[in-house]
Subunit: 352 residues, 2 copies
Amino acid sequence: MKLSDFTTRSGEWLRGMGPHSEVVISSRIRLARNVSGERFCSKLDRARRADLEKRIRLAILAAELAPSMLYADLTQSVELERQLLVERHLISKPHAASEDPRGVAVSGDEQISIMVLEEDHLRIQVLRSGLQLDEAWEQISAVDDKLDDSLEFAFSKRLGYLTACPTNVGTGIRVSVMLHLPALKLTGDIEKVFRAAKDLKLAVRGLYGEGTEATGDFYQVSNQVTLGKVEEDIISDFRHTIIPRIVEFEQMARRTLLNERTHFLDDKVHRAVGLLRSARILTSEEVLFLLSHVRLGANLGRVRDVDVGLINELFLNTQQSHLQKVLGKRLDTEPRRIARAEYVRKKLGSAD
Amino acid sequence: MKLSDFTTRSGEWLRGMGPHSEVVISSRIRLARNVSGERFCSKLDRARRADLEKRIRLAILAAELAPSMLYADLTQSVELERQLLVERHLISKPHAASEDPRGVAVSGDEQISIMVLEEDHLRIQVLRSGLQLDEAWEQISAVDDKLDDSLEFAFSKRLGYLTACPTNVGTGIRVSVMLHLPALKLTGDIEKVFRAAKDLKLAVRGLYGEGTEATGDFYQVSNQVTLGKVEEDIISDFRHTIIPRIVEFEQMARRTLLNERTHFLDDKVHRAVGLLRSARILTSEEVLFLLSHVRLGANLGRVRDVDVGLINELFLNTQQSHLQKVLGKRLDTEPRRIARAEYVRKKLGSAD
């Protein structure tokens, strides 16, 4: 498997399957880990960094974490490939942009990914479609244990796992759930979710994590506290209380739209389809916004001729790097927007 | 001919024919006239007003101004009918809203209309498709002469025609040309037209005259000075200098869009078609805005499956009163917006 193979398949985070997948796009758990006896990344010179990268790489490849595992030395990759990984939620933007020795390991099904020498020595991630936090926790614990055996992670009895940034000290865990909340946005009740999340010390972010705006009604809800809590409690709160409540709130808003504001709902949904089928210039942000309404319409049975699989495909492949990969050519901003509109029209079977 | 017959035909102002009709929607000349020896409207009590209305009505009907001439006593009309006349540019909004004795005369082809007892005793209008100011002037002069024979208009050798509002004293003429300037709007050069118009002491208004915003890129350019000028000079300025220059400026902007910004142009045009074919809720303002882009696209050959006749029909029949007349039922705001969208989809042959 090579980096360039990624585009032909839909990423795990957008498979659109799994429990509560109408609202819950994906569940993600991330663990921050550092190798005992080694300095934190920011304190490593280039040579020691390269040595450590190699040591971790070998440990990962020896651990047999999945039937198929790709390891990529990111210093050897081109920008387009790194952006593809960002768009598939497999590496962070800073990890893509860095010029230091670093790598990433990705399992064939894209459920497991490990950033090597990002902020911490290892950022282990398990990503699953729909609401699958228990499954993700079980999976990531196994990965964590196997790697701990060979690498021995820095751990303090008093503080827990030691991490480069104090906010991650303790469990080093971040639990995130990506939610699609178009109905709450349309009814205006989304503000209540934000307020409730704030009270619960949760972070609500956009599609690509920290510092990004929520686009296309996608919201990433994650914990902020990592110290003084047990992993299982954090996950259980998400799994059994926080997420089900937001899901139910969104479903209520959808029922309200469907039963009491049908024309309003249909207007949003069909305008979105109409624009996707007719626009000649499309930014990725607008596509996201429009597909969000189409997805809502498809889930509520208001759009019959656009299936969910196609919507997911468009979500992924209209992103900047995916689009260029799919079309097999590099494109500047303007031509890319034109090519994106053309690609979307073709996929949606537009008349002209 | 009855008031209620109007909806089945396209109004003169939107026939979309005549010279320069790609840019010039219609040419209008209006004369303000008052009957000598009678007080201005605002000084008339109800009884004398009724007498004067009758006197003018008989003079109009006796004058044989056109092969077929409808006279409507507006106190006997229902609001929907009066709004139809407003939407067809045959009477003003204040004339529709008034509760005093008053009337309107309209020729069968809608080229001639005479408001009786609006601000002045008579407001004579000739409206022609495209740029036809000379023709309109010839036509309105004949009407003016015939009515002057029987009614004898108030005229001062020093001031000219006397009118209720001092701004109309002198010639009592207003020359207006309705222009469709979507390309200048898209390129941003429309501001230059506004500045030039201001320098020339011209007024630029929206679709329905004074106090209305320019909607859907339609602009009504008219003279403001009526005193100390000869009618022929005012018309000649419009006919040979002002309007041809604006038309050429708009045509240049269209060529620029077509040749240098084709994708941008097509994007606007096809989005407009796409939205009209898919929206479930439409205000008349949005329809106007969208049809404006479709009209531009049709004129430039970028839309092949929507013809100009249909565009004009939609312009007229999606307006509030026309829509209700065409659908044969009264509708409140929300149901009207839904019915409008349905009507538009049906007319444009939308898939669903």
